[in-house]
């Protein structure tokens, strides 16, 4: 493999991996606080992608209830992306209220909440299909105006071409990641969130309204899911209502690989899986979807707690 090809694969891997990372952080934040995998995350990812599509003013297909409908506005793509993510964040709030809080206030088994979130995920996907049909969608061409379709990261004699979309995806993911890092580590709210994650009872004893912070976690998680849905849609198109389900499973591989509930772990896991996928040779491309799980298998054999996860210590 030539060094320019290598660099190209690395850049592509980082771009896709950075989306895996912010998507997986949506799982991680909720898991770190509630110790529950939120199975609606994949559906919220899909919702975000569809919402962005609608906000650009693009028309829906002819199959669903909203056949041929289009919003009477044409937001620039960046605003549509933010709007789609906000829509996903609001969806996160509704999911928390409907599927999580009622069970939590009754002190139900976490397993029930898991099933409840799975049920909501299935319902959401079906609502999407009912409304918009099962067809694939793709965002309007050149969403960022007159940018060239690829950028050269090499020299003119030895070009390293990377699709502009990948560069944008990487940039957006990094901005989101930076904002989240600042929020979690340098603000009062972030420290309170970490306190709730570490020990909910102690957090309440310090006067932290844990219900409100759990809701905030769902807002952030939904936002991250929505942004990643749009970014993946931008890269490969929206493959239909089930678009988020396969991606959701990959996200699970990312968080288990990095260490459940660990924020840096989700980032490392996401980048690693993105890189591993991009190094699958073209003739074996059909096996690419298996790579994250193969990697997960190997890592778990060696480190059952994940790459950065803490080994479970029994409290005395």
């Amino acid at each position: 493999m030539s060094s320019s090809l290598l660099l190209q694969q690395v850049l592509n891997g980082l771009a896709i991996g950075s989306v895996y990372a912010i998507f997986a952080l949506g799982y991680t934040l909720i898991f770190s606080i509630l110790r529950i995998i939120n199975f609606t995350h994949g559906a919220i990812f899909t919702l975000g992608a569809y919402a962005t599509y609608a906000l650009t003013g693009a028309r829906f297909g002819f199959n669903g209830l909203l056949a041929n409908a289009a919003l009477p506005l044409h937001l620039p793509f960046v605003l549509a992306l933010i709007g789609g993510a906000l829509f996903a964040a609001v969806s996160g709030v509704i999911v928390e209220r409907l599927a999580f809080r009622p069970l939590r206030t009754r002190g139900s088994d976490p397993l029930l909440t898991l099933v409840s979130s799975l049920g909501v995920a299935v319902a959401l996907v079906n609502v999407i299909q009912y409304l918009f049909g099962a067809e694939a969608y793709s965002y309007p061409a050149d969403p960022f105006g007159q940018l060239p379709s690829a950028m050269n990261f090499g020299t003119s004699t030895e070009p390293v071409l990377v699709r502009t979309v990948q560069v944008i995806i990487f940039g957006v993911s990094m901005v989101v990641l930076a904002l989240l890092t600042v929020l979690m580590n340098a603000t009062r709210t972030g420290k309170a969130l970490r306190a709730v994650a570490e020990d909910t009872v102690t957090a309440s004893l310090l006067g932290i309204n844990t219900d409100r912070l759990i809701l905030l976690t769902f807002v952030i998680s939904g936002f991250l899911g929505g942004v990643s849905g749009t970014l993946i849609g931008l890269s490969v198109g929206i493959a239909g209502p089930y678009f988020g389900i396969a991606f959701g499973l990959k996200g699970l591989a990312v968080i288990v690989l990095g260490g459940l509930g660990d924020i840096p772990g989700a980032v490392v896991g996401g980048l690693l899986i993105g890189l591993a996928e991009s190094f699958v040779p073209a003739q074996y491309i059909a096996y690419r979807e298996a790579v994250p799980f193969a990697l997960l298998f190997v890592v778990l054999l060696l480190r059952p707690q994940g790459l950065l996860g803490r080994a479970v210590v029994q409290k005395v």
């Binding site: 420290k191 309170a192 004893l205 310090l206």
Partner: protein, 242 residues
Amino acid sequence: MSAGATPAPLLALDDLSIHYGRVQALEHVSLDVRAGEVVTLIGANGAGKSTTLRSISRIVPIHRGRIAFDGRDISGVRPSDAVRMGIAQVPEGRRMLARQSVLDNLLLGAYTRSDSAGIQADVERQFVRFPRLAERRRQLAGTLSGGEQQMLAIARALMSRPRLLLLDEPSLGLAPLIVRGIFDIIRELHAAGVTILLVEQNASLALQIADRAYVLEAGRLTISGHAAELLTDERVRRAYLG
């Protein structure tokens, strides 16, 4: 106790009953704490002492009876509102936020406040009271020794400027010398006018420091009175003072 002229208590539990599933944890418990007092609740392991404090902090549901703080019924408020109203708890086992620094633990103790200048001044005040914490302000709380963690737990609770401080087993698992230091601090807080409800297994230490005491046995209050009297009470001596 003089009748009639006593002011309304700061804290009053009235006929409080709590159960966990089918296990009765507290039955018909009524007690009160007046402003400026140190009141201790002693009893064997599992008698319901911690449950009493957890109910006052509103982290366990109440099945019967009511809790009044400063004349207001707080039986239905959230834990965070209880802190906001002036009730802080130093929980059993100290419950550090082990992955945050000493300083961040203190700042989170002031989560209900928004006067940043006052918070800053109070942080410095805690560092004067507990010089060991000042030396370790950047360290993760999980790396502190047991005694230091207990100091941090007390300092953190004080950061909310409580009107009532609930202390749950502050001597638990600490060396005698450290325990003496912790009780000196409780005495200082008492002298400074802080109202304290102290739960302790070490009954003799608790009775020496307290104004009044209640004895809890299997979820029911059995004996109450001035701490000095309980120290010489034959039943208390036999059961708790050895």
